[in-house]
Amino acid sequence: MIAAILVLSALAGVSGLLLGFAAIRFKVEGDPIVDKIDAILPQTQCGQCGYPGCRPYAEAIAAGEADINQCPPGGENGVVALADLLGRDPKPLNAEHGAVKPKMLAVIDEQNCIGCTLCIQACPVDAILGAAKHMHTVIASECTGCELCVAPCPVDCIDMIPIAQTITTWKWTYPSVTAKAAA
C-alpha cells in the first residue's frame, strides 16, 4: 500500500519535473497558427478585410473573431488554403469585403502631383518615394496594389492600372480538351 503510494508519487514528481523542464526549454513564442495563417494571406496590407493589415486579420482568424472569406486579394485559392489549414469547409468570398480584381499597380501622374505627402503616409509598405512639396513616385516593384493611396490624394492624381502581361509573366494555360469524352 505505502509502496504503491510512494511509487506513484515518485512517478508524478518525475513527470512534473519533466513537464516543467519542457515548458521552459520548448517555450513557444507567439501563436504559431497566426504565423501559418499570415503566410497564406497575400500581404497586400489593403485592409479590405476590416483589419489594419494582414497580420491583425490573421490574429482575428486565429481568435475566431473573423471569418476566412474576407480577403479578396487572396481570392478563392486563398480561402481554400485557409480552410485546409484550419480544417474548415471552404466558402465563397464575402462580397461585403470587395470583389476579386486582377493585380493592379498604383501610378502617380507626376505632372499633377503637388507633393502633399498624404499618399506616402497612407502606403502600408513604404512604396512611395518623395518629399514635401516635391513630386512623388511609386516604386513599382514594391507596390502591392492595395489602393490605400488613391483616396487621400487631394488632386486625384493616382491611378490604379492593371499590370500588363509580358513574356516573363506569361503562363501556359490549362489545356482545353477538345472532346467531352474526357472523364
Partner: protein, 514 residues
C-alpha cells in the same frame, strides 16, 4: 571499344532528315531591316546601349550583359538603328519583347575584330570575352556558356566534357551540316573549352544516322584525344541528361545538373561560335538554321540574327500549299508561332512549315485508361500518368512529389498515349503555375517585411517624439521657475509673438515657423 549505356524509354521517330541535309549550308541574303531581340538567352535581358538614329557597325555591341546569367547582343550588320522598342518575337505567347531594329546599309562594315590567343589568357578573362561575344548554348536552351565554362563553386575537376551533336529531333539538320562543313572550327572551339575546363576525357556524341558528320568529326579530331561516339538513333538522345547517361552511364540526380556528376555538355554549334569569338574576334551575330517541312526547297541557312522568318522561308522557295502551322524547333519540342514576321534568334535551330501531314491528326481526347505506355517511353524515368492526374486536378504539390520538374517536355508520352491526352501541355501548365505561385510568395514576403519595417519605424518615431518631449519638460519647468511663475510666462509669450526685429526678412520668419 567504347561502351554505350542506353537510357530508359525514348522513341524511334520518323526522321525526315534527308529533305534538308542534302545541300550545303547557304548564306542567307542580307535583309533590309533586322529586328534583334535583347532577350535571346536564359537569364536577364541585355541592356540596350544604342538609341534610335545611332550608326552601328557589324558586330558592334548593342546590348550589354546585365548580371551574371546574361549575354551580350550585337549588331548583325552595319547600318542605322531605326528604333528600340517592343516587337513580336518567336515565343509561344506571341507577345512582343524589346528589340533593336536596324536598317542595314548593305555595306557589312565590321567593327575592329580582335582575335586572342586563349592559351595566354586567364580563364576569367577568357570567360569575359565569351560573355561579351554573346556566346550562348545554340542547341535550343540558349543558356549563357560562360557560366557553364566556370567550374569554381562546383567541383575541383571535370571528369567528362561532352559535345552534343546528337540532333535527335526529326526534321532538324543544322548541326549535321555544320559538322560536315565546319568540323575543324568546331574542334578549334572545343580546344578553348578544354583549356577552360580541363576535363579528363572529351566525348562527342553523334546519332548514327549522320555517317558523313561522324566521319568529318573523326577526321578533325585525329591526334587530339577527343573521342567521337556514334550513338543509335533514339529520341531524345540529344537531351542533356539522356546523352550523359548514354555516353558515360552516369545518372544526373533529380533536380540536379550534369555538373553534379562531373560532366558538362555543350552543343556543337556552340563550340563553333566559341571558335569564331576567340580565334576570329567575331561575336555571335548569325547561326545555322534549318528551314524545312512544307517549303519548296528545304535546306540549311547561315542567317543573321534578326532576319524575319518570312524572308528565310522565301529563300527556301516559299511555302507549299497546305501549310497549317509554322513551328520553331522540331515537331516534338518546338512551339507554334503566331506569325512569320518574327526574327531569327540564337535559340532558333529550325523553322518547320507543317501541313496536316506533319502534324499529328487532332483526335478526340479520351479518358486515361492507365495502360502505362507513357511510363515505358519516359526517358526521365517518371510516372507521366500520375503527373497528369495531379496536374489536371491542380494538385501541384503532389505533382512535385512525383518530380514534375524532372520532366524535359520531350513529348514521348503524348506521342504514344492511346487516348491522345495532351500530357505535356498539362505539365507545362503545372510548372508555370508553380513558378508563378513561387514568385507571388516571394513578393508577399517582401511586402510583409516592408510593412513590418514601416510599423517599427512609426513606433520608433513615436517614441523619439515622446522622449524629446520628456527631455524638454524639466527645462521648461526650470525656466518657468526662474522667471517667476505663470504671469511672467504669459508676458514672455506675448513678447515672443511680437514682430521680431528680423521680421522684415520673410525667409527668417518662415524658418522660425518651421
Amino acid at each position: 571499344m567504347s561502351r554505350l549505356y542506353p537510357f530508359h524509354g525514348g522513341l524511334k521517330t520518323v526522321r525526315h532528315k534527308t529533305e534538308s541535309n542534302q545541300q550545303p549550308i547557304q548564306r542567307a541574303a542580307l535583309p533590309r531591316r533586322l529586328m534583334v531581340p535583347l532577350r535571346q538567352h536564359i537569364g536577364a535581358m541585355a541592356k540596350p546601349v544604342v538609341a534610335s538614329g545611332d550608326q552601328v557597325l557589324k558586330g558592334q555591341m548593342i546590348g550589354q550583359a546585365d548580371g551574371y546569367i546574361s549575354a551580350a547582343i550585337h549588331a548583325p550588320t552595319s547600318g542605322r538603328v531605326a528604333t528600340v522598342e517592343t516587337r513580336p518575337v518567336p515565343h509561344p505567347s506571341g507577345l512582343p519583347d524589346l528589340c533593336v531594329v536596324i536598317d542595314s546599309d548593305g555595306e557589312e562594315r565590321w567593327v575592329e575584330r580582335q582575335p586572342v590567343d586563349y592559351r595566354a589568357l586567364h580563364p576569367s578573362e577568357l570567360r569575359n570575352i565569351l560573355r561579351n561575344a554573346g556566346v550562348v548554348g545554340l542547341g535550343g536552351a540558349a543558356f549563357p556558356s560562360a557560366v557553364k565554362l566556370n567550374l569554381s563553386g562546383h567541383r575541383e575537376r571535370l571528369e567528362t566534357l561532352i559535345l552534343n551533336g546528337a540532333e535527335c529531333e526529326p526534321w532538324i539538320t543544322c548541326d549535321d551540316r555544320l559538322m560536315r562543313e565546319q568540323a575543324a572550327g568546331i574542334v578549334a572551339g572545343l580546344h578553348v573549352m578544354v583549356h577552360l575546363l580541363e576535363p579528363r576525357e572529351v566525348l562527342i556524341g553523334i546519332e548514327d544516322d549522320k555517317p558523313e558528320a561522324i566521319a568529318a568529326m573523326i577526321e578533325a579530331c585525329a591526334g587530339t584525344g577527343y573521342e567521337v561516339r556514334p550513338a543509335p538513333t533514339r529520341y531524345p538522345s540529344g537531351s542533356v541528361k539522356q546523352l550523359v547517361k548514354l555516353l558515360t552511364g552516369k545518372e544526373t540526380p533529380v533536380e540536379g545538373l550534369p555538373i553534379d556528376v562531373g560532366v558538362q555538355c555543350f552543343n556543337v554549334a556552340t563550340a563553333y561560335t566559341v571558335h569564331r569569338a576567340v580565334d576570329h574576334g567575331e561575336p555571335v551575330i548569325s547561326r545555322t538554321v534549318t528551314v524545312t517541312g512544307h517549303v519548296r526547297q528545304p535546306g540549311n541557312f547561315q542567317a543573321l540574327l534578326g532576319t524575319p522568318f518570312a524572308e528565310l522561308v522565301e529563300q527556301a522557295g516559299g511555302y507549299q500549299e497546305g501549310v497549317e502551322r509554322l513551328i520553331m524547333g522540331g515537331p516534338m519540342m518546338g512551339f507554334a508561332l503566331h506569325s512569320d514576321e518574327v526574327p531569327l534568334t540564337k535559340a532558333a535551330n529550325c523553322i518547320l512549315a507543317a501541313s496536316a501531314e506533319e502534324l499529328a491528326p487532332t483526335q478526340p481526347v479520351m479518358p486515361c485508361i492507365r495502360c502505362g505506355a507513357c511510363v515505358d517511353v519516359c526517358p526521365a524515368n517518371l510516372l507521366p500518368q500520375q503527373l497528369y492526374w495531379h496536374a489536371r486536378a491542380k494538385e501541384f504539390d503532389k505533382a512535385q512529389d512525383y518530380h514534375l520538374f524532372s520532366c524535359i517536355e520531350c513529348g514521348c508520352c503524348s506521342t504514344v498515349c492511346p487516348s491522345h491526352i495532351p500530357l505535356v501541355q498539362y505539365y507545362r501548365y503545372a510548372k508555370n503555375e508553380i513558378w508563378a505561385q513561387e514568385k507571388e510568395k516571394q513578393k508577399a514576403e517582401l511586402a510583409r517585411q516592408r510593412h513590418q519595417a514601416r510599423l517599427e519605424r512609426l513606433e520608433r518615431e513615436k517614441q523619439e517624439r515622446e522622449a524629446k518631449l520628456r527631455q524638454k519638460a524639466p527645462a521648461r519647468a526650470a525656466r518657468a521657475e526662474s522667471e517667476g511663475g505663470g504671469k511672467l510666462d504669459i508676458e514672455t509669450a506675448v513678447a515672443r509673438a511680437k514682430p521680431h526685429p528680423d521680421a522684415a526678412n520673410p525667409a527668417a520668419t518662415r524658418q522660425q515657423d518651421a
